[in-house]
C-alpha cells in the first residue's frame, strides 16, 4: 500500500504543471536573471583606470617629480597603472570634464598645482591623493636633503656632493614601500549570496509540493481526501508514502537547480561537495516540513494556504538577503535572533559558511538549526493530524 500510494502521489504531482513551474522552472529562471543582472556588479566595483587630463605648460614640463610620477602611473606596461592621461590645453580640458570624458584635470602653476573635478567621489579622491603624495614627496626630499647636508657639514666635511645626496634620498624614498601582507580569503564574491538565497527560496518553495499532497490526504480539503480517509489503511503509512513522494519530486527539482547553477551559472559552493549536498537535503526537508505544517495547522481553503506559504517564504528570503544582500548582514548584526529562527537564512548562511569559512562550526550550527526547525514543524503537524474526526464536513 505504501508503494502504491507513493507511485500515485508522484503521478499526481507530475501532472500538476503549475506546481512544477513554480518549484522547478521559476528558481531556474530567477537564477538566470540574477546571473545576467549581477555578473557585472563586482567588476564594476573594481578600480578602473581613471581618465584625467593635464594642462600642458612649462611648469609641468619643468617639474621632474610630477612628470615622472604621472608618466609611471599611466604607463600601459605598469601593473598598478592608475591613470589614462590626455595632455592638452585648458579649454579642451574643461570641455572634456564637461562631457564627463575625464574625472578631472590638473593645471600646473608656479610651485603649485590646481585640481579641477566635477563632483566629489572615489576616483576624484584618488586623483587628489596622488597629487598630495607627490607634494608630500617633494617636501620629504627637501627635508631629507637639508638634513643630509647638515649632517655632512656638522661632521666636518665641507665638501658636499649634492648629486650623491640627492640620489641617496631618492633611493631611500624608493625603497620605503609599505610591507603589506594580504591575508583575505579568495572567496569574497558577495553576489554568491544571491544564489544561496535562491536555493533557500527553492527549498522552501518545495513546501508547496508537500502542502499540495497533504491537502490531498485531508478529508476537509478534497474529495480524494474524503475517500482516502475512510479507507481502512493506517494514516501514518499513507501520509509517509505521499510525503516521501513529494520529497522525491522536490529533490529532483533541487538537483536540477544545483546542476544548472553550478554548470551554467558558475556558482561557487566552495569545495566541500558532500556537505553542500547534505545541506540541500536538509534544506529541502525543512521546506517539506513547512508545507505540511501550513497544510495542517491553518484550517482554510487551498488558495489561502498557498498565500500564507508563499508570503512566509518570500519574507524569509527577503530577510536572508534575496532582494539586497546587505539585508542579511543588517539583520545578522542588529537583530540576530530573527535570522537564527529564519529557515531561509539558515540555508543561506550554511552555504555562505561553506564558501567563505575554513572552519565548519558555523555550518553545523545552521545544519542543526534546520533539523530542529524541521522536527518541530513535523511534530506540531503530527499532533494536529492524528486522530482527526469530523462530525460533518
Amino acid at each position: 500500500m505504501f508503494w502504491h500510494n507513493f507511485k500515485y502521489s508522484i503521478k499526481t504531482l507530475a501532472r500538476n504543471k503549475m506546481l512544477l513551474f513554480w518549484t522547478f522552472a521559476f528558481p531556474i529562471i530567477l537564477g538566470t536573471l540574477f546571473s545576467m543582472a549581477f555578473s557585472g556588479v563586482e567588476n564594476g566595483e573594481k578600480l578602473d583606470i581613471i581618465n584625467i587630463a593635464i594642462v600642458e605648460s612649462e611648469y609641468f614640463n619643468d617639474d621632474e617629480i610630477f612628470n615622472e610620477t604621472f608618466k609611471n602611473l599611466s604607463d600601459e606596461n605598469n601593473e598598478s597603472r592608475l591613470f589614462n592621461i590626455t595632455y592638452t590645453d585648458l579649454d579642451n580640458s574643461k570641455q572634456m570634464l564637461e562631457d564627463e570624458k575625464i574625472v578631472g584635470y590638473l593645471e600646473f602653476k608656479e610651485n603649485d598645482v590646481d585640481i579641477t573635478v566635477k563632483s566629489s567621489g572615489v576616483n576624484e579622491t584618488i586623483l587628489k591623493l596622488v597629487v598630495d603624495e607627490v607634494i608630500s614627496q617633494k617636501k620629504m626630499i627637501e627635508t631629507l636633503i637639508t638634513k643630509e647636508i647638515e649632517n655632512t657639514i656638522s661632521s666636518g666635511n665641507f665638501n658636499v656632493d649634492y648629486d650623491q645626496i640627492y640620489n641617496n634620498v631618492i633611493n631611500v624614498i624608493a625603497s620605503s614601500e609599505a610591507n603589506l601582507n594580504n591575508i583575505s580569503s579568495d572567496n569574497l564574491s558577495y553576489i554568491m549570496i544571491e544564489f544561496y538565497t535562491l536555493i533557500a527560496m527553492a527549498a522552501l518553495y518545495g513546501g508547496v509540493i508537500s502542502m499540495f499532497i497533504t491537502n490531498y490526504k485531508l478529508a476537509n480539503m478534497s474529495a480524494v481526501g474524503k475517500r482516502t480517509s475512510i479507507t481502512p489503511i493506517h494514516k501514518g503509512s499513507m501520509l509517509l508514502g505521499s510525503l516521501l513522494a513529494s520529497y522525491f519530486v522536490q529533490l529532483i527539482g533541487m538537483g536540477l537547480l544545483f546542476l544548472y547553477t553550478i554548470f551554467v551559472l558558475n556558482v561557487d559552493y566552495g569545495s566541500n561537495l558532500l556537505l553542500v549536498i547534505l545541506l540541500a537535503l536538509v534544506g529541502s526537508l525543512a521546506g517539506l516540513a513547512l508545507g505540511v505544517f501550513v497544510a495542517t495547522i491553518f484550517k482554510t481553503n487551498e488558495n489561502t494556504k498557498m498565500g500564507i506559504l508563499i508570503a512566509f517564504t518570500m519574507l524569509c528570503s527577503f530577510l536572508s538577503g534575496m532582494m539586497g544582500i546587505t539585508m542579511k548582514y543588517v539583520v545578522d548584526k542588529n537583530i540576530p535572533i530573527l535570522n537564527i529562527i529564519n529557515p531561509a537564512s539558515m540555508i543561506t548562511d550554511g552555504f555562505y559558511s561553506l564558501y567563505y569559512y575554513d572552519t565548519l562550526d558555523r555550518f553545523y550550527f545552521n545544519l542543526i538549526s534546520l533539523i530542529i526547525f524541521s522536527a518541530l514543524m513535523i511534530f506540531i503537524s503530527y499532533s494536529g493530524l492524528r486522530r482527526q474526526k469530523y462530525d460533518s464536513i
Binding site: 503549475m18 536573471l33 566629489s120 631629507l144 620605503s176 594580504n182 569574497l188
Partner: protein, 382 residues
Amino acid sequence: MTVFKTFWKVIIKYKGTILLYTILLVVFGTLNMASNDTSTVFVDSKPNILIVNNDVYEGVTKNLIDYLQNNTNIVEVEDNEEARDDALFYRDVNYIIYINEGYRDDVLNGLNPVIDIKTTGDYQASLAQMILEKYIKVQNSYLADITDENELIAAINNNLEEESKIQINSTVDTATTSRLARYFNFASYSIMAAVIFIICLVLSSFHEKTVNKRIIISSMNYRKHNQLILTSSFLYSVIVWILYVVLGVILFGDALFNLRGFIYILNTFVFTFCALTIAILISTLVKNKDTVSGIVNVVALGSAFLCGAFVPTELLPDTVLNIAHVLPAYWYINSNELLANIEAINFNTLQPIFINSLVIIGFAILFIVINNIILKKKQIVG
C-alpha cells in the same frame, strides 16, 4: 455599467497585490536617496575600514591609527574575527588593517614590519590601501634620518598635513536628477507588475468558462462589452500612473515641477500605456489564472532585471543590454537615464528621448496588432 462595475469590483479584490508593488517601489526606489549629497565643496571619499591593534596605543602606532581615523571611516564591529570577516564579506568594511604586536618597536628599529591586511579588492579598498601606503612610505623615508620617536612623528605629521587644492566645476545637480531617474527606473517594474498582473487576473475572471458563456448569451452587444472592458483597463492603468506620479511628487517635491519632471511624467505615461497593451495581449493568450501569475512574474521580473530597473545600467554587461533592446522597459529606462544628465533641455537634446518614446509606442502598436490577429483567428475557430 454592469461590466464596468464588475471590473472594479474584481480590481478591489486585488488591492493587496497593488499595495505590495507600491510598497516595493517606495522602499527600493528611494533606497539610495540618503547618500550622494550635492555640494560644491570637495569632500574626500573615505573608505570604510577596521583597525585591529594588537600593539600598544602609543607613539608611532597611535599616530598611524590617528591618521587613519582622520582619513577613513572606522566602522564599529564586534571584537571577534568572525564578525570582522562577515563585515568584510558583506562590504560593511572594505579594508581591515592588523597592527601586529611589537609594531612600534619594529618601526623604531627600522625593520619595516609586516602589516597584515584583508581587502575586498574594490575601489574603496584600493583607496584605503593608498592611504595606508602613503603614510608608511613617509614614515619609512624619514626613518632613514630620524631616530627619535617624537621627532619622527612631528616630521610625518608635518609632511602629511600639506594638501593640494581641489575645486569642483559643475553646473547640473546630477544627484537629484539621478535619484529621480532611479525612482522611475524602479517604477517600471512596479508599473509592469501592477498593470499586467492585475489586468490579466481581472480579464481572466471574465474569461472563465462559465462566466464567459453567460456573457455571450447575454443581451449585451459583444462589441460594447469589449469596449467597456478596454475602457476600464485603460482607466485602471491611468490610475496606476497617477498614483506613482503622485508618490513621486510626495517623495521628490519640487524636483518634478519643471520641464524635466514633466517629461519624466509623460514618459511614464507612454510606458504605462505600453504595459497595458502587453497585459491585454497576455490575457488573450492565456486564460488560466495560475498560468497568468507565472507568466507575469517572469515578464515583469525579467524585464526589470535585464533592463536596469534593479541594477543600474552601467553595471550590466553589454550582452545583457543588447538582449534588453527587445524589451520596452529598456527604452523607457534609457530615457530616464538620459534625462537625468541633460543640462539644457531643448529640442536637440530631447531628440533621443523622443525616439525612445516612439520605440515604446511602436511596441505598443505591435502588441495591439498581434492581439487582434490572435483574436480573429480564435473567433474563426470558435
